[in-house]
Symmetry: C2
């Protein structure tokens, strides 16, 4: 299992509209092959800052399966115009504790 983690900065004053759009976009991502779960976290200290966490079965389920799909174009259309700066997407694997 792989965790996709992205810090997102939404343009000032667009937070409510973004959360509505994100709910719509959630329906897209959750149908994808290898998708396990996702959640969106709103920062308490910094307005407009969010943390997106998506669990995928494999790295390629995200980087190839999702990113090269038609669904990703819908996802982008719904969400990408809210971000400034454009976010850095990273992937993580759990450390056994």
């Amino acid at each position: 299992m792989i965790l996709e983690a992205v810090i997102l900065q939404v343009k000032q004053g667009m937070e409510k509209e973004y959360e509505v759009a994100f709910r719509e976009a959630s329906k897209i991502i959750s149908t994808m092959k290898g998708y396990i779960s996702h959640d969106l976290q709103r920062c308490i200290e910094t307005e407009g800052k969010y943390l997106l966490l998506v669990k995928w079965e494999t790295l390629e389920d995200h980087t190839v399966g999702f990113r090269e799909s038609n669904e990703y174009h819908e996802w982008k259309k719904l969400l990408h115009h809210f971000y400034d700066p454009f976010p850095l997407v990273e992937h993580f694997e759990q450390v056994k504790l």
Copy 2:
């Protein structure tokens, strides 16, 4: 419930030692009042980068209960010398999707 999220950059070459120390530190945090769960995630793209995610019942369970405890001194002693730069700790609340 509150999510504490911290991007951690461990000094070059100290990753293995850090993970051992973190396993020890895990025992400390998991006994604290309001602690729900935590996990440590290792970045795939950037060496030495980690994401720490801790779930707390309330913000104060972390910012007051843990940070003002004797246990926090032990935590710091085990972990803080691994980090460069010193990390920014932020808190998040889940957006209802």
